[in-house]
Amino acid sequence: MISLRGKVALVGAADSQVGIVPDLDANELCADAILLSLADAGIDKDQVDGLITCNSMSKPLLYHAEAMAEYLQIFPRYCFAAGAGGGTTFSILHHAASAIVTGMADIIVIAMADCLRSGLSREQSLLVQSSTGHPQFEQPYGPTVPAYYALIAQAHMAKFGTLPEHFAEIAVACRAHAVQNKTAQMRDPITVEDVLNSRMIADPLHLLDCSLVSDGGAAIVMTSAERAVDFPHPPIYLLGVGEGHSHEHISQARSLTTSAARESSKQAYVMAGLGPKDMQFAQLYDCFTPTVLLELEDLGFCEKGEGGPFISSVGIGPDGALPVNTHGGLLSHCHPGNPGSMFALTESIWQLRHSAGKRQVSNANVGLLHAQGGVMSSHTTLILGRDAG
């Protein structure tokens, strides 16, 4: 297998306006993010020869990437839309890196946006997201998206003694990061008590254990390591990447408490020649607080079952030994659905460029990013760094 280590780099990154953005629809936000990312990369749209997008739920297009290329009047030789739920972003990065290394494209833009907040009613938003369940054997029983993840949380609690307080600490840490981020949707500090006193949605998940419902989009520009040195910002290199896909429907999962993040991270660590202890920060998919806890375990930051005590003792907030979701994550920055991890990606690029301002992690040279889609189903781990290695 050809290693992708150090072969490609991210040379442009931008977020659209995020949070509650009623004036632009999902595809307009997507175009906006693309134009901003090209400006950040210092290139003209005509230089883009690859485009990868993810369809939106609020304004779906049958052939999304092709339609976005048409909208922007770019004429790529490599163009497709992908969909793997919240894991889509990083899975696409894997594909894009392969496409650059094999010569399918030289400059690829990855972009996605959605408007779960302003483009759908509350009930539509709930229904479209819960359709991740099996249409015959799960959905009829009325599981909401929080309910799917509550099943994982409850199993972890029963098996390892994890407490609601441990989950709450994750929400508190993400909010503490968001306080430092002017673009975050939720910026008022919260406490563990606030989380535990918030309305119960699906036991053991409280309202503040659940991600936001937002509008927003983001885009990045990727090219080969050779070309990357000619762009205005320092290139951020892909050092490791790996995927693991264990199921789609939670009732078919091999395990409720151990995920395919083990497989995805193992591949990424081997490719990068690095391990969990080498990471100065981690951006972990936090659609609900329990996913972060399981990911910390499955990515090797602590032993299986030790996620709760790890969070309490090591700390994942701005002052913690392992800052997690330095932008505020899906819990406090924004969560427009499938594009959610794009913001973890743009944030990581800024952290590694050392341009993250007040929330800059000191000596940030290497970071780990992890996203999952479905219900702990599809996993992709990325390791990014300032040096090609």
């Binding site: 009930e123 249409p135 054997f137 029983y141 009325g142 599981p143 099943l151 199993a155 699906a202």
Partner: protein, 133 residues
């Protein structure tokens, strides 16, 4: 507003026919004897293609559960319990636990199947605590 209705199609007809007759039917591999759910065109254990159906005991225990406090749609009345049930025969399935206070449900507790009308033409398997009644 009604609850979400499963589309009865293909191999699942045998399963849903069973539900309408008050029987929980599972696929059985004639080659390796594995029992599986949901129905597939092959045995997920040995990849054999020679499958028939068996009647399950309807007994199992709770692998995990949640109490939904904010219903999916108006077709569902909160609070309701969504659970993963490990059937005695091996397979795991999602279902509801009915006829009990949410506080009585724990991971590992024994349950048994009952069938509930989901529409005029279809019943679905749900579970109740087996130490009740």
């Amino acid at each position: 507003m009604s609850r979400i209705q499963p589309q009865v199609s293909g191999l699942s007809r045998e399963f849903f026919d069973g539900c309408n007759k008050g029987v929980l039917r599972l696929q059985h591999c004639k080659s390796c004897k594995a029992i599986q759910f949901y129905p597939r065109v092959f045995c997920k254990v040995c990849s054999g293609r020679n499958l028939d159906w068996v009647n399950a005991s309807g007994k199992g225990n709770v692998a995990s559960f949640t109490v939904v406090r904010k219903a999916l749609t108006e077709g569902y009345k909160e609070p309701y319990i969504v659970a993963l049930i490990d059937l005695k025969e091996g397979p795991r399935m999602m279902s509801n636990i009915v006829n009990c206070e949410p506080e009585l449900v724990t991971v590992g507790v024994d349950v048994r199947v009952v069938f509930l009308a989901w529409s005029d033409t279809l019943s679905l398997p749900v579970f109740e605590l087996s130490n009740e009644k």
